[in-house]
Amino acid sequence: MGTTQILFWFLTALALLGAIMVLVSKNPVHSVLWLIVVFFAISGHYILLNAQFLAIVNLIVYAGAIMVLFLFVIMLMNLNAETEPQKSIWMKFFGVATGGLLLSFFISFIVSSIDLKNKTAQLKEGDVGLIKNLGKVLFSDYVIPFEIASILFLSAMVGAVVIGKKD
């Protein structure tokens, strides 16, 4: 097992652990902090895939900006553990059961699919994730979706302003 693989498994375990902790933490602040851990783990994966740009952006935007914003909001609104009403035990039970079923389906599907190994992306290979190539593709082939994505942000911005502004 090379270093890459060790790193891969470590990051995977970390991401899963973080994701689970996001869900089970009672305190919203803790949830947010665990989410940041998840983002770091994912960024690690990006780097393993030779997509440095994506990794950095993921860190800056999600872990850096958005999560901090989350923390601010949560703290400003003083959402502590008591505000969360308890769900009924049945609901939790069913939730876990159906979620588990779905997960087992996915696993069985993926396990049963043939020669998956040949298809999975190879670690450290390919350089499409490098800034230079990404920029080229983004502004040639994918220029229209790029522009549409900018409109999408416009829409999100207007929406946020509309919902949030004072009368």
Partner: protein
């Protein structure tokens, strides 16, 4: 990208610039009236642009988009719906205290999302289009945030739609993993070879279907529909019921055509299942509704179920039937929600059945239009709805899809039951004194009535001379603008 490709995209560029123009107008502190009129003109400009570029079609803008006849039909329908909804919006929002101006930006952005869906031939553009549509909708649904229902509905939609998007993405990822391609034709090509794994493909398609069913509000992914229809402002409800469904259906048709979805047995089973439970569930849930917006929500679930029956055969007849059905359904719902909009007052929407008691006596024109719209929903002959159902049934029978066809027939009897309930309310005697109609700019009152009349004429016209509409659709599909496959 060459200039012809740019030309082909002209309508979409105009559509995108419409929202920017509105933003600038707001920045210049223009009044609601000015914005409304500008918006209307911009939509007209989109139509003109579509007309102008008709000769350059069909044209693919590799790798993501293709502007062809089918896209033109669907986009045309979308723009038409938005034109009408825009007109209704004025009357609706002029009465409210909230500032209605940003509403138009969001509407146009949502429209652009739906329009992008119609020209998508690649997962990336599908996803971006869908998100553009959804994000605009989150804000639109919660637009009247002083009404708690609105925010609640917006929140619900946000959470559920985000989840369905997650399923969509996961499905796309699985298919990409399987075929190594994200554009429809590439996927189709890869499927021809032996090198792909059915299990991955099936799972991927299944997850994507979940998201599509969610957007089309089909049982069992319909739970958001009634709440959102009820909580959203009426024009937005109208928008969700028509524009967003047209866009999503368009992309479904294109994808299915590319990969020959209906030749996979599992897909047919799943779609039939969803269609049947939607027809049954939608109609049964509508029976007891007292709230007309919720009732129309459930009825639209049932109608989308009917639409899927047309989608099932996967042949040209089915697609034509589906398009006609969508057309008939859209103009009918536009008319019905148009009346709801007209009756809605300052405080609340006219969503209780009580508000319609004796409408026919108070305002015969509105009563008549709503009656015709409901009859069209019920599929009575000489309305557009009948021809739609006829075409759908024909498509189903030709392919010997007996089970869905029989369910369609039986459930439409149930449907008649609750439509008649509303119609008899319209004719009932009323003691309640309703406040006088609000004093609006006469131009807009005339415009709104004009729009309603146009819808009425379309409803009856498409019912009496359907071949004109069908030929039009065919013309777009076959001669003028072929659908292109690469």
């Amino acid at each position: 990208m060459d200039s012809l490709q740019l030309q082909a995209l002209l309508p979409f560029i105009v559509l995108a610039s419409a929202s920017v123009v509105i933003i600038l107008l707001i920045a210049a502190r223009q009044s609601h009236t000015v914005i409304q009129i500008t918006g209307f003109l911009m939509m007209c400009l989109v139509v003109l642009a579509m007309w102008y570029v008709r000769d350059v079609l069909p044209r693919a803008i590799m790798p993501l988009l293709v502007v062809d006849g089918m896209a033109a039909v669907f986009t045309g329908l979308i723009v038409f719906c938005v034109l009408i909804i825009g007109l209704f919006s004025f009357i609706y929002f002029e009465e409210r205290e909230e500032n209605p101006k940003e509403y138009y930006i969001l509407i146009f952005l949502g429209t652009l999302g739906a329009a992008v869906l119609t020209i998508s031939r690649h997962f990336i553009s599908v996803f971006i289009g869908l998100e553009l549509l959804s994000i605009s909708l989150y804000a639109l649904i919660a637009y009247l945030r002083n009404r708690n229902n609105a925010v609640e509905a917006g929140m619900k939609y946000l959470v559920l739609a985000a989840m369905s998007s997650a399923f969509l993405l996961f499905g796309m990822a699985l298919i990409y993993m399987d075929t190594g391609s994200m554009d429809f034709d590439g996927i189709a090509k890869q499927l021809q070879t032996q090198g792909h794994s059915p299990a991955l493909f099936v799972t991927g398609i299944g997850l994507m279907m979940v998201a599509v069913c969610f957007k089309l509000a089909l049982v069992p992914f319909h739970l958001w529909a009634a709440d959102v229809y009820q909580g959203a402002p009426v024009p937005v409800t109208n928008f969700i019921a028509t524009v967003s469904k047209i866009g999503v259906f368009a992309v479904l048709v294109r994808f299915a055509q590319a990969v020959q979805l209906q030749s996979y047995h599992f897909a047919v089973i799943i779609i039939s299942f969803v269609a049947i439970v939607s027809m049954v569930g939608g109609n049964l849930l509508a029976i007891k509704q007292q709230n007309i917006k919720r009732l129309l929500a459930y009825s639209s679930i049932a109608h989308l179920g009917y639409l899927l029956v047309a989608f099932l055969p996967g042949n040209a007849a089915g697609i034509e039937a589906g398009m006609f059905y969508l057309f008939a359904y859209s103009i009918t719902l536009l008319a019905a929600f148009g009346i709801v909009t007209m009756l809605s007052g300052r405080q609340a929407d006219a969503d209780q059945l009580e508000a319609y008691r004796g409408l026919y006596w108070r305002n015969p024109l509105m009563g008549a239009i709503l009656t015709v719209a409901l009859l069209s929903l019920a599929g009575i002959p000489l309305t557009a709805g009948f021809i739609g159902k006829f075409a759908v049934l024909n498509a189903g029978v030709q392919q010997q899809l007996w089970l869905p066809v029989i369910v369609l027939v039986i459930t439409s009897v149930i449907g008649l039951y609750y439509y008649l309930r509303i119609i008899s309310t319209l004719f009932a005697e009323t003691q309640v004194i309703f406040p006088k109609e609000k004093s609006l700019h006469p131009l807009f009152v005339a415009g709104t009535y004009g729009a309603l009349l146009v819808l009425l004429i379309l409803l009856l016209g498409a019912g009496i001379f359907p071949s004109a509409v069908i030929d039009g659709i065919k013309n777009f599909l076959c001669q003028g603008f072929r659908i292109i496959n690469f």
